[in-house]
Symmetry: C2
Subunit: 156 residues, 2 copies
Amino acid sequence: MSAATETTGWAEATIASLLARGHRNSGARRAVVELLGRQRCCLTAQEIFDQLRAGGRRVGIASVYRVLEQLSKDGYVQRIDIGAGTTRFEPIYAGGEHHHHHLVCDDCGKVEAFADDQLERALLQVEGRTGYSVAGHDVVLRGACRECAPRTRTSS
Amino acid sequence: MSAATETTGWAEATIASLLARGHRNSGARRAVVELLGRQRCCLTAQEIFDQLRAGGRRVGIASVYRVLEQLSKDGYVQRIDIGAGTTRFEPIYAGGEHHHHHLVCDDCGKVEAFADDQLERALLQVEGRTGYSVAGHDVVLRGACRECAPRTRTSS
DNA sequence: ATGCGTGCAAATGTTTTGCATTTTG
DNA sequence: CAAAATGCAAAACATTTGCACGCAT
């Protein structure tokens, strides 16, 4: 409720919410949540799995998917479909803090985050006109990044 | 070249462009292009495959993917990642005609199109600020549609 | 006839499911 | 101790690739 939605705060708040909902506080889930809370941008399930393993934690990739599915369904993480065949995940901060969208380089595959208030306002307005009860939105800009742009080939 | 970018026109123009590029005018590709040209909104590769088969055409799903890959690479169709694990495809009309984005019902899975000029303007502005050479963008609004919204359950 | 484009089948990669076992409350 | 979570392996999907053959040019 406070304005103190720190990078670390998300993981703690999420674990607390899960406990409050009657879930147990055990290994894999906590590990995934804490890892996500430490990240700056979106990760794939495989990346999460690899990092946990690299950190010595013995988890199954199925658990990673199960935790992500649950967190996503309950609104703690957002699924991001950059379009490379794998879904990415990132924390959703309370109060819309750190809300952002993504910029993908078609050439080198790099993913960056960006935020823009005017874009958010435009989205909010459209959302009101749709007739849907809009729960969230996703914006992906695709193109060539600063390094790749100069030598982008147009065809083939 | 004319302003006559009709629903039918896209398929014809696309086939013509392909011929001009030295490609052959043969079975599967033509079938996929014509089917896409007849559709109102985005389709999955599987849906395209099924519809072609249902229409008596003997195509392989690999060809469908190959054609879609080529059309997408050459800028004739757009890949859409709604986020359900499968990519969708739809025609890109010349001159940005019929440019739109998508509205997805989390409950029943329905996908609708919407367009909004102000949103496009906001996107254009952000795109200029990114430092990327932005080639395209994707916006997906997720929520509950008119039929599903009234009985949406908040949790589990 | 030449070779691009195709269909089929097998390979690849991602995500999900079944089940026995461990862990938490 | 009972129920929830987990890890592993297998299954289910989505997409890509290898290859021999057929069809436009």
